[in-house]
Each structure stands twice: as structure tokens, then as C-alpha cells.
Subunit: 460 residues, 2 copies
């Protein structure tokens, strides 16, 4: 970019945003990397709009100068979604943090895209309602929608695609549209809400979201159960899901991960493959569900379920699960994270995990397993130590084999983290000719390829 | 179309399909109208492919000759989706009626698009699983996906958009793509599954669907309860939904509709606004739910709930609901149906229905009400008598005012019937600038505008 253009854009952005624009290197660097191993690629500017209209003006300015636009939420992406591959303007939405309406009569809430899930949780506390989608970090709701995120509750409550009623979107040309409405269902036209959920900022910027709220359960029980081997734990999860038990969470930590959390959080759990479970409903419903899960667990050699109902005890019981990712990372000081994310049909999950563990053993890599096993989704959490040569390449090759394994089992390369730049290589194999349809949509809606360029779609 | 072209296309279709192609007027007429008031517009040919590859070849042939392509399921559309506005080839999918796989381990079934919901129901009987989406007629599953259909179970199980895992689609250029997979969740690329659900044949032809199956409930109870007025019935439904009672069905019939079903089916129900309910779960769960609904009903002056658990008695109790649409039509012999379909946020439903009844009274039209009130969705079922001049125009004007009322209440002009040609006039008001995005997608994927032209998108 020549100095004249740089100066002219800076001036225009300052005229619009005052001091809510910066080109300081330190801040740009903070915006050029997420929570993972992808090397930082800073944008040229970071801007902090406060309104949808400001976003629209920024986008029009970028079109005028043909500058890339990268939306930024909490920066918790794991696949390099926010790298400024070609420079440009990073649109940090942290000031778009207003909860605009909580409409309990219609069981929905409208928020600006920069509201975080913890912020919404806190707001809803005591209201009798909750929003069920919770990834492992305090992401923004806009970011969660952009990557079609899910987390531990998806087995019962679905993912972001199932929990958004309506969006306000700034299009690549600066027009603002509203998709959907507060009506619970509609069959009027193409489902733009779902098109934008999971579009990773490549078709526009999410400015507002209307989210479905759920009734806070009458009771919540947490439970934990350990198993002689991973296969037994996974088979218990499979049977639970196949039997249609309406479990709220069913999470696997393998022996290695249990070791990591014991050390990280000073816990004393058996270092064996363990299922962490959560049940929502009336006490009678939950007791019925616990009995059924206990029967499956016993069949596969699981221990008796230990369970807790009272909130403090529940949270303590689940502490190991909550701390899993940082605990794994802490095992290798100075490392950065690579997380695999395949998801397979539930009947293939045990096979996929067992084969992956055998493959992993051959590599000698340290890669504890964390799984949303009710969905058929699991992560290898691989701390990458920059000081260990060859480790990154080894991990990448392991992930590649894992993705091929999952696709062969009718699965997907990413259950919830998205594509970003980290999984571009697998998209052609996963989607085949359908990739052409995605490319045609991108070309039609963002003909200048300025919206988060280089993400989600591999080069043709 | 000149005779030479007509002859050449006929020859090519016969070469491909043998006797599975026809240009007989009677058959073409049967394919040019649905279940509603829209006047018949027959296609030039009707073809009956048996495989996805045959559909693809037909589509390529149509592209070569620039002929419109109209997919046809069971012909139960209410909004003129299957009118051959510009002639062309009607692709009747009735021979694509194979249930390809029922995968109970992964709780899904893969079917060809011409499989009807009754056919799938019969197949699943005794399997322990069911498919929850049931509109009032025996539609095909491909047609149901194309219009984003729902029906009585949507309040608990969602609509077609929530119950399809994956699609096989023939694109407008004859390429075949697969969207999604058997994995329960994925965040890899644009959500083409949801884009095609509700696209009304305008972006390609659905050839196969992989559907989510649900565990058959441990118990099912049906119940019925009548009210002094419509508002009381609707308020009971609103409270039930707002309280988060996981009710499976909650349907309203107004006094007029109860009169119609009594007469049509020889029943003796009180001719008062009535809620028909269904509960799924364990007997203990259901009894809890019934108690809660009973408390709401009593608060609004409802009668004691009458309920049945045993299947024959249940079906008998629900008979009135099942027969509602034909019963309304039978009140005016020789009439054809116009059905309104607005859906509003649940908190606005009572207001919307009460205002609509007042409006209706002024018109003097006969229009019994049937409502999926748990979703905020209701239908005026208006028999249009061709012998009564001005009736159609009156009904159309009534619907127009109803749509404006619903949109003003943050609702939608169609909850489940789709746009077809019948609701084109309301799309600009409902979607505003978002209509431009829909048009860009249509243009990108079907540049020659041959896929069901004139449907879903109003002329620019």
C-alpha cells in the first residue's frame, strides 16, 4: 500500500471514528492471531465501531479503496479466522456490546454482535432463562454465529444454527439487511440466517443477533463416571444417545487429559477415561435418566456414577472438564495449541477414537483427548512447542490422517471450530462439487473478495 | 414453442425415459395445479425419472433447449408452487420412492425425494423411531423440504430445517452435489442444506434426503379442552409455551371449525374454541405437563382436559383436528381452498387472531381458523366458491390485511406453506433489502432462470 493511500484511509477512518481507530503495531499484532498455533498476521488498521451504521460506513470505505475487511470478536478462534492475510481493516466489535432486548414473553434476546456469552449469561441470571451454546472460552455471540459454534450442550440444545432467530448483517457493499424475524418459523424465501451462520465473515459482518432463550431447567445434576478404557466410555455415550436419553452434556476426557487436569487444578480424579455428564429436567426425569446411563455404564465396566445437584458441588465436580484445554496446554510450557475437531456419525465414534489413539501412539506426540461424544465430536488438544523441531509437522500430518479417517466414516473435518485457514486443505474432499456452489455464492455476494479474504474457501 | 423443438425434445425424453414421459393433456393438467385456488397452468411434458442420474440428464436437456423445469412431489402445494407459468418440463418424482437406508444406530434415514411421509411412517412402525414432521396431507419428503414444511409437531420437534442432515441435489446445470453428512454437526462452509430447504425448486431439484429420526416416546397422551372464547384458548397456549412445557402438539380450532368437523365427521364436540393437545414422554413427565396445562386452562375459563392414552382412543379424540381442512372445504361444496399462513411471535398471537376475527366478521366470509398456536402460526381456511362473484377478491384482500398485521407484529407472511406464486406480493415488505441477497443467489446458481421460474422471488 502506498503512503498516500495509507494516509488517506487513516484520515477518513479518524474522521468517522475519532480515536476508535489505530495503526499501532502492538494492537495490530493482538488482532492478527487467535488462540492457536497460526502465526500472527496483523491488519493495517484496527477500528472499533459502536453502531451498525458505523460498520456500514467502514465497509463502504474499504470497498472504495479495495481494502480487506476482517471482523473480530473476542479473538478466540482456533483456525486462523482473524489473520489479516492481505492486510486491511480489522473490525473489532468489542464496543458493540449492548444487550438490546431480553424478550422473555417470546423467549428470545437481541444483542449486538460483540456481546460475549459470559455477559449474556450474567444478564440472564435469575431470569428463568438461559442461552445454551457455550464453547470452552468466553467468545462473542457474533463470533460464535460466524463459526457455527456449539460446545458441551449441543447434544441436547443444538448448535448456533439452531439457536438464532434473526440476524442484522452489514453486506459487503455496506447495505444493512435483517434476516428472519421473531416468528418461530417461516417459509418465506432462502434461509439467509443459516447462510450467514458459519460464513466466517466472508459474506458480510454480523452486527446484531436475535437468539432463542431456553427455560432454565427445574433441576440440574452433574455426574462423573470412569472407565477401564476409552472404548468403554465412548460405547456408554453411544448407547445413551442411541436410546434417546435427553442428556444435556456428555463429555469424554481420556486418561492423559485426566492427568493434565489433576495436575493443573489440583484434583484427585482417577486417571482413567472419564465421562462428565449433565442432566436437565425435573428431579424425577433426571433420576430416570441417571438410572439408564448407569445401566449402560455398568455394562461397559464403568464405575458407579458420582453425582451432585447443588450448584457449588456441581461446578466443582465439573471443574476438571472446564479446565481441560488450558490444563493440556500447561503440560508443555510455552506451547501454543493445535486442536483437531472431527465429528463422525455416533455409531462410528468408538472406531474413530480407537484408531486415532493407535495412530497417535506411533507419533509419540502428547495429545490428550476431549470429546463432545454425544455429538460424535472430539478434539485432540496438541500443545505445539516451538522449541521442538518437527513437532508441528508431525501434528499436522496426524490431523490430516484423522480428517481422512473421519471423512471415510461419513463425518466432517470440523464439528464446531470452522475452517478459517487451518482446514482449507480438506474442504474439497469433504464437499466435492458442492464447493462450486459455495464459491458461486461468495462470488455473487462479495465480488471483490474483500470480506475476510482467504478464509473458508480454498483457492479454486 | 415451435413444432420442431417440441418434436426434438419429445424424442430426446423418450430416448432417455421410454414411456416415462408424456404430453397428454389430462396428465399435464393434473400436474399444473396443487390443492388450492390457483388456476391450473399445465407444463408441456411430464417426466417420471427413477434415479438421480436421470434427473440430471433431464435438467441438462432442458438447459440445452432453455426449457423451464418444475419439480413435482405429491402436488399438495397450497401456493401454486407447481404451476408451469412458462410451460416446460414437470419432473414428477413419484417413482423416486425408495427408502434407501434406515440407520437406527445413527438415528437417521435416507430416502429418495418422492417418498411420502405416510410411506416413511409405515416403514418406521415398530422400529422405535419416528419422523416428526407432518403437514396435514400426505406430501413427499422432497416437497416438504422444498417448502420448509412443518405441521403439528413443530412446537417440540422443529420444522424440516431442523430435521434434515443432508441432501443430494441436482443443480441447474445437471451437476449432482451432496450437502452435509451423517455427522450431527459441522462447521465446514456455507450451510447449503438449509439454503436448499425452503428453496421451492428454484435452485435445483432435491433427489435424496437424509432425515433425523427421533425416539418414539415412551407414552403419548392426547387431550382436548374447550374455552369460552378464542382469546382464552390462545392465552392458554401462550402460557404453556412461555412456561417451557415441552408439549408435542398444541392446536387451536375455533368455534366455526368445530362446527365444520362435527358435521363432516359426525362428532359431537362442543362448538366452542378448542385446543387439541398431545404430550410425549414418560407417563410421569406427561402427567406433570397435563397438570401445568390444566392450571393455565382453568385460569382462562377452559374446561377440564379430557385425555386418552390408548392409541385408538387417542386417534379418535384427535379425529376432529385431523379432518379440519377437508371439513372446512366440505362446508361449501364445489369450492377450492385458500389458506392463510401467517406466523407471529407467540406474545402477539392472541392480538393477531382477535383482530383478524373482527376483520373477518366485517367481510362476511366463511373462514374457520386452525392454528399451530404453539408456534404462533394459524390458518384461515377459506373455501372459495367459484359461483360466488367477488368472494375470491374479498378473501385476497382479507389475507393482505392479515399479512400486514402479522408483519407489523414482527411476524412472517408464511409459517409453513411457502411463497410459490401466492405470496410473492408480500416478500419485499417482509424482507426489504435482504431480497436483493436472495436474488443474487438465484442469479448465481440458476443464471438462465429455468428452475421453477416465477416462484419464490417476485419480479425485480
Amino acid at each position: 500500500m502506498d503512503d498516500l493511500l495509507r494516509q488517506s484511509v487513516s484520515t477518513a477512518l479518524q474522521a468517522l471514528l475519532g480515536d476508535r481507530v489505530t495503526d499501532q503495531l502492538e494492537i495490530r499484532k493482538q488482532h492478527g492471531a487467535g488462540f492457536s498455533y497460526h502465526p500472527c498476521q496483523p491488519p493495517d488498521w484496527v477500528v472499533y465501531p459502536q453502531t451498525t451504521e458505523e460498520i456500514a460506513t467502514i465497509v463502504r470505505l474499504c470497498q472504495e479503496h479495495q481494502l480487506p475487511i476482517i471482523p473480530f470478536g473476542a479473538g478466540t478462534s482456533l483456525e486462523g479466522h482473524i489473520l489479516a492475510l492481505k492486510g486491511g481493516v480489522c473490525v473489532d466489535l468489542r464496543l458493540m456490546n449492548q444487550i438490546l432486548e431480553v424478550d422473555t414473553a417470546n423467549r428470545c434476546a437481541t444483542v449486538q454482535a460483540g456481546v460475549t456469552r459470559n455477559q449474556l449469561d450474567a444478564w440472564l441470571e435469575g431470569s428463568g432463562f438461559f442461552f445454551p451454546i457455550g464453547p470452552g472460552v468466553n467468545a462473542t455471540l457474533g463470533g460464535m454465529a460466524s463459526t457455527r459454534a456449539s460446545g458441551t450442550n449441543a447434544v441436547r440444545y443444538g448448535t448456533m444454527k439452531d439457536n438464532v432467530l434473526s440476524l442484522k448483517v452489514v453486506l459487503p457493499d455496506g447495505q444493512v439487511i435483517k434476516t428472519g424475524s421473531k416468528a418461530r418459523k417461516s417459509s418465506t424465501g432462502y434461509d439467509l440466517t443459516r447462510l450467514y451462520i458459519g460464513s466466517e465473515g466472508t459474506l458480510g459482518i454480523l452486527a446484531e443477533l436475535t437468539l432463542k432463550l431456553h427455560s432454565y431447567p427445574e433441576a440440574i445434576y452433574a455426574a462423573v463416571c470412569s472407565f477401564p478404557d476409552v472404548k468403554a466410555a465412548v460405547n456408554t455415550a453411544i448407547q445413551t444417545v442411541q436410546a434417546g436419553v435427553a442428556i444435556a452434556k456428555i463429555e469424554l476426557l481420556d486418561a492423559l487429559m485426566m492427568q493434565a487436569v489433576n495436575r493443573y487444578s489440583g484434583l484427585g480424579y482417577p486417571e482413567k477415561p472419564t465421562l462428565f455428564l449433565e442432566f436437565h429436567g425435573s428431579p424425577a426425569e433426571i433420576e430416570g435418566q441417571i438410572q439408564r446411563v448407569q445401566a449402560f455404564a455398568s455394562r461397559f465396566g464403568g464405575t458407579d456414577l458420582i453425582w451432585e445437584q447443588e450448584e457449588t458441588a456441581r461446578l466443582k465436580l465439573w471443574r476438571a472438564r472446564t479446565d481441560a484445554a488450558p490444563a493440556a496446554l500447561a503440560m508443555v510450557p510455552g506451547s501454543s495449541m493445535m486442536s483437531t475437531d472431527v465429528c463422525v456419525p455416533i455409531s462410528r465414534l468408538a472406531q474413530c477414537i480407537v484408531d486415532t489413539q493407535a495412530d497417535l501412539a506411533e507419533t509419540g506426540l502428547f495429545a490428550p483427548i476431549l470429546g463432545h461424544v454425544g455429538d460424535g465430536n472430539f478434539h485432540l488438544t496438541i500443545p505445539i512447542d516451538p522449541a521442538t523441531p518437527g513437532q508441528f509437522e508431525k501434528a499436522k500430518a496426524l490431523n490430516e490422517r484423522l480428517v481422512h479417517r473421519a471423512l471415510a466414516l461419513e463425518g466432517t473435518c470440523s464439528g464446531e471450530h470452522g475452517i478459517g485457514v487451518g482446514k482449507l486443505a480438506y474442504l474439497a474432499q469433504e464437499h466435492g462439487e458442492a464447493l462450486g456452489v459455495m464459491r458461486a455464492i461468495k462470488q455473487a455476494l462479495d465480488p471483490n473478495n474483500l470480506m475476510n479474504p482467504g478464509k473458508l474457501l480454498p483457492p479454486a
